[in-house]
């Protein structure tokens, strides 16, 4: 069986031709990552999930998070559901672990920016003004 895929590992977007027989043969890839992507995409497609979660007392009402590695596609909506129920409190640093070892995949969900508290934001502005 033959299949065509567009590689999404990097912005180059190589057009891949895949022959699925006893082995999976990949053509059109410019790097090893492309071959691995094609094999993964055929056998076990995965995506990084990036979304936001609620944060109490933060500069903004939500903070962006991501999975530390791509997760199987079928886990995306269950994980979104789980994350919609979570609320953390500011301040948090970048890389703060929101969920650990999700679905026993050895993958975590972490914040992708620091979030200071509302009060702290105000204070920095006042200091700036007085200087």
């Amino acid at each position: 069986m033959k299949k065509e895929l567009t590689c999404i590992v990097c912005p180059l977007g190589c057009s891949l031709e895949i022959e699925i027989g006893e082995d999976i043969i990949v053509k059109g890839n410019k790097c090893e990552k492309g071959k691995n992507y094609a094999i993964e995409e055929i056998t076990n497609p995965k995506r990084i999930l990036t979304t936001t979660i609620k944060i109490k007392n933060g500069k903004y009402k939500v903070v962006p998070v991501k999975t530390t590695a791509p997760i199987p596609k079928e886990y995306i909506f269950p994980l979104l559901e789980k994350l919609s129920e979570i609320e953390i409190s500011a301040p948090v640093p970048i890389g703060y672990k929101v969920l650990e070892n999700i679905f026993q995949l050895s993958i975590d969900v972490i914040t992708t920016r620091p979030m200071e508290t509302k009060e702290n934001t105000r204070k920095t502005k006042e200091t700036k003004k007085s200087t």
């Binding site: 567009t6 057009s15 990084i48 939500v62 962006p64 003004k129």
Partner: protein, 414 residues
């Protein structure tokens, strides 16, 4: 109030951040003027991954990419940052007028780097007829609402334009529980990067209607629906074949406009093809001491290129102040064939270092050949298996191929 620094950088997004570091490490005093309440520009709302593959050789989200630079500039005591500060005017003598909570500032400087980014094309730019209800957003505004402010802009969403922000918002809104009806594109090919078409639309079976456009918006207080119609080969809608689509929200992802009003005020010539200023390989505009980088120079599809342009502009500004740029001759670069734009548009001689050229093509093309000529003499060729309007072409050329050309010209043929 008065202020004096070596270099003023207007805009604290990815271009301005990297420009500040590359000029600060060469010992100059830098002032970044940023109108938002934090640094990082549009990266802060681009919470999706895909950033940094070229520059950092790893995949980061927008906020993570910005954070690396924001952390880095904290190391430099010679970089000063003014947030919530809006530049309202510049003069030919490089005096900047800026406004913030402290009042009106007059800032004197030796060099200015423009890293002001882009605005999005709005309904007004697109001239879509109909009523004026709530529920019409540019894709970037919707992105800010969802990813920073924490609001969902609507429940039943149609997206006009297949630019990257629109594609990314299609997936984002789907993830947040909205119904995404589809993406409408006037051109016969998609506007966004291939990986976004695959990951944002195909993954979620969101349809893409090519050669279609929105011809009318309906609704009194809130959008109630739109009419879409196919377009002919000249891009004119065939309204006899219009079709009603029920939706409560219309997102516009129909292109970006480099923000260069301040340059226009002092008559710095802009290239109608890029809508950014004409620059040479130093990213100097045609007025010396004023530099441009990032999306206000040309609309980039990867932030990594924006960073590299910022680094170059910062370095060039320092060289300019140190009197290290001595231009003997300047040639305008022509383009031909399938090429839509080139940056830089000028070569300043002598050429001492490799030059990175950025191109966009007019139409998708397979097995394309990019040729550099001087008059009609072929100098060098580059071959590409496929070129697409959405994907910038980036090449690096060594100085020996560019020495004292009379009429440099790049052309792309099949």
């Amino acid at each position: 109030m008065q202020k004096e620094v070596d270099i003023v950088i207007i805009g604290g997004g990815p271009a301005g951040l990297s420009a500040s570091i590359s000029s600060a490490e060469r010992g100059k005093s830098i002032l970044i003027l940023e109108r938002n309440e934090e640094l990082g520009g549009v990266l802060n709302q681009c919470i999706h991954p895909g950033f940094g593959l070229i520059y950092f050789k790893e995949e980061l989200t927008g906020p993570e990419y910005a954070y690396r630079f924001i952390k880095e500039i904290e190391k430099y005591p010679n970089i000063e940052v003014w947030l919530e500060t809006m530049v309202v005017d510049i003069t030919n003598e490089k005096e900047i007028t800026a406004i913030n909570k402290d009042g009106i500032w007059k800032i004197k400087t030796k060099a200015i780097i423009f890293s002001t980014g882009c605005r999005e094309r709005t309904r007004g730019n697109l001239q879509i007829p109909g009523t004026r209800p709530a529920g019409i957003y540019t894709a970037g505004t919707a992105q800010r609402l969802v990813n920073i402010e924490g609001y969902l802009p609507g429940e039943k969403i149609l997206i006009l334009g297949s630019g990257d922000i629109g594609l990314i918002m299609a997936r984002r809104l789907k993830w947040e529980g909205a119904e995404v009806i589809g993406v409408i594109e006037k051109l016969p090919y998609p506007g966004g990067l291939t990986r976004n078409l695959v990951q944002c639309l195909e993954d979620y079976n969101i349809p893409l209607y090519l050669k279609h456009t929105v011809v009318e918006i309906l609704g009194k207080d809130r959008v109630e629906g739109v009419y879409i119609a196919p377009v002919d080969d000249y891009g004119n809608p065939i309204t006899d074949n219009k079709k009603f689509i029920e939706c409560d929200t219309l997102l516009l992802s129909a292109g970006l406009i480099p923000e260069n009003d301040l340059l226009e005020n002092i008559n710095i010539p802009l290239d109608p093809r890029t809508q950014g200023p004409y620059v040479d390989q130093y990213l100097s505009t045609l007025k010396e001491g004023i530099f441009s980088c990032g999306n206000s120079l040309l609309v980039n599809d990867l932030v990594d290129y924006v960073t590299l342009q910022g680094i170059l502009a910062g370095k060039s500004a320092v060289r300019y102040i140190n009197n290290e740029i001595n231009i003997e001759k300047r040639s305008h670069i022509e383009i031909d064939g399938n090429l839509r734009l080139v940056v830089p548009q000028y070569l300043s001689y002598p050429i001492l270092e490799d030059i990175t050229f950025y191109f966009r093509v007019k139409e998708p093309q397979k097995s394309a050949i990019l040729t550099l000529k001087d008059n009609d003499k072929r100098i060098k060729e580059w071959r590409f298996p496929v070129v697409k309007p959405a994907e910038m072409i980036v090449i690096k050329v060594k100085p020996e191929f560019l020495r004292y050309m009379e009429n440099p010209k790049f052309s792309m043929e099949g």
